[in-house]
């Protein structure tokens, strides 16, 4: 046997992968810095990938396969035992042998049973996360508890049957009247980066804390915005991102007023807010998970949102 037959095919040393890696790095840096650099990186990576693949395929079985001698014992054929045929002549082959049918039907029946058993089980695991979702309107107290122009920190249990784990926080500011209707700015405390709880940047008036059933209201004095303790995201008092990693403004709650009480409705996502207070223009989107862009080219990555 030839010595070179002993080793598996190992491609020779090549520098092209290094160039390819450099291209990928430039591409990734470009994604942060500028599109031109990203494009340059992509070109470099593609060029070196082409060279690398060409290198790999040149002179290998992919390019030209060597003739492989058929495996056959050397020497003369072993003679059949004398006195008749070594084997009786085979009968004309059955078109569909019984054993083949049994093999396939065993596999088929097994597959059907497996599917019947696992489909409901997997559905039971997955479906409840997506069915019967949604939020009910929640009473967070009389309008008189919300002074004009000041944020009140309102925490409440969104579902009392779930207990404390369903506690949510909203920052509620009354903006006075707009066209004869009360106007509110109601900002969710879920950071638009990765969902940590943002805190008001300013003192709370703990001594004026009010408890109304499961709702707790703590007024603030004068806050400069909101900040997230996890990764340092900062927002102004309209919830617009001012610094840090968040990709959009803070989510908001819709609201309604019934019998002089403020009710929180469905939350929604906000890309940014122009202006402030009652006259603010809110760019509103369907509620998205934290960290997801709701507008711009990056939002194409999240074309469908699960039912909220």
């Amino acid at each position: 046997m030839q010595p070179h037959d002993e080793h598996p095919h190992v491609p020779g040393p090549s520098l092209w992968p290094v160039g390819f890696a450099v291209g990928i790095v430039v591409l990734l840096i470009g994604l942060i810095v500028s599109w031109y650099i990203a494009g340059l990186g992509a070109l470099v990576a593609l060029a070196f990938a082409f060279l690398w693949v060409r290198d790999l395929t040149a002179g290998t079985p992919l390019a030209h396969a060597e003739e492989v001698p058929p495996e056959s014992p050397t020497g003369a054929a072993i003679p059949a035992p004398e006195g008749g045929d070594a084997m009786p002549p085979s009968e004309p082959e059955e078109r569909y042998p019984r054993s083949k049918f049994l093999e396939l039907s065993t596999l088929g029946v097994g597959g059907v049973i497996g599917g019947l058993v696992s489909a409901p089980a997997i559905g039971f695991m997955v479906a409840p996360a997506f069915l019967k979702q949604g939020v009910k309107d929640h009473d967070i107290g009389p309008l008189t508890d919300y002074p004009d122009g000041k944020f009140v920190v309102a925490t409440f249990m969104s579902d009392k049957t779930q207990g404390e784990v369903s506690r949510r926080t909203a920052f509620v500011r009354s903006n006075g009247q707009l066209n004869g209707q009360p106007s509110f700015t109601i900002i969710s405390n879920h950071c638009a980066h990765l969902g940590c709880p943002v805190q008001p940047n300013g003192p709370l008036e703990e001594q004026k804390k009010k408890q109304l059933g499961d709702v707790t209201l703590i007024p603030t004095v004068s806050i400069a915005g909101f900040g997230c303790p996890c990764h340092g995201g900062q927002y102004d008092t309209e919830g617009n991102r001012t610094a840090g990693p968040p990709v959009r403004a803070l989510d908001r709650y819709s609201f309604s007023i019934r019998n002089g009480h403020l009710f929180l409705g469905k939350p929604f996502s906000v890309s940014h807010v122009d202006g402030a207070g009652a006259s603010a223009k809110i760019h509103k989107w369907t509620l998205a998970f934290p960290g997801e862009h709701v507008n711009g080219i990056e939002s194409w990555l999240y074309p469908v949102q699960p039912p909220h």
Partner: protein, 263 residues
């Protein structure tokens, strides 16, 4: 034929070996175990090649301590944290077993990465062992999944918010991200079911998958043999061995076709 009286030593040996022989005759398990434990390896392997067994040991420690912790832990939002306090402060040696599981988790992950680094630097992922590298990557992903799901179980502030962040990182994956996040939470937000969900994934689903993958991983290690270090004189690609014959220890490195009729 005259029967010789057995010496005391032989009698003793026979008595001890009787159950072993009984088992071997009926199952072949003893031979199989001997084959697994005392198989031939290249003469120039070194201590770095024990990292795989070390990782396996760390996993077995996690499996054992985890099963025992499950006897005291309660995966319910109202009792999870108190049950952890109970394990740590009241149950005899609870602090020790919980500590072994908690720190052993880090040891397991670190050993997996070190084992992976050894395989990478020794080039042991190359033909014909590519499939075992892929199985190892799956095992790494499963191990990290164990770390993620286990982190929620103490149900304290760190656990809760770290999981919120982890789930939302999943949520930023393109296209399917929001659905993955909602599946992990079992709803639009973390709710009482999330904890039980993570517990089931942590102690039943992923460990089952890890056991199966370790079985396949070991099967391939035994089938393909252990690689020599890259500096080995006998390593693949450095030419035939001095006597022009293929040594037994190298058989796993050859192409399947040459194994049968080679030499």
């Amino acid at each position: 034929m005259a029967t010789r009286r057995l010496t005391r030593q032989e009698q003793l040996q026979q008595t001890i070996m009787y159950p072993v022989d009984w088992l071997e005759e009926r199952s072949g398990l003893v031979g199989g175990l001997r084959y697994f434990l005392f198989r031939k390896v290249p003469g120039d392997i070194n201590w770095f090649q024990t990292l795989g067994s070390a990782t396996l040991t760390a996993f077995i420690v996690q499996a054992l301590t985890g099963s025992i912790l499950a006897m005291y832990y309660k995966p319910d939002p109202n009792s999870a944290y108190p049950s952890i306090q109970h394990i740590t402060n009241d149950v005899w040696a609870g602090w020790l077993v919980r500590g072994m599981h908690r720190w052993g988790a880090s040891v397991f992950i670190i050993l997996m990465f070190m084992h992976m680094g050894r395989v990478f630097l020794f080039g042991a992922y190359k033909y014909p062992r590519e499939l075992n590298w892929i199985l190892g990557v799956l095992l790494l992903a499963m191990g990290l999944g164990e770390g993620f799901t286990g982190y929620l179980l103490p149900w304290d502030q760190t656990a809760y918010w770290a999981t919120v962040v982890g789930i939302n990182i999943n949520g930023t994956a393109p296209f399917l991200g929001p659905f993955i996040a909602q599946f992990l939470q079992g709803g639009t937000a973390i709710n009482p079911d999330t904890l039980a969900r993570f517990y089931a994934i942590h102690m039943l689903m992923i460990p089952g998958a890890i056991f199966a993958l370790i079985g396949l991983h070991l099967y391939l290690v035994i089938r393909l043999g252990v690689t020599s270090p890259p500096w080995s004189k006998e390593a693949a690609g450095t030419g035939p061995s001095p006597n022009g014959r293929v040594t037994k220890t190298r058989r796993g490195l050859m192409r399947p076709g040459t194994r049968r009729n080679g030499r």
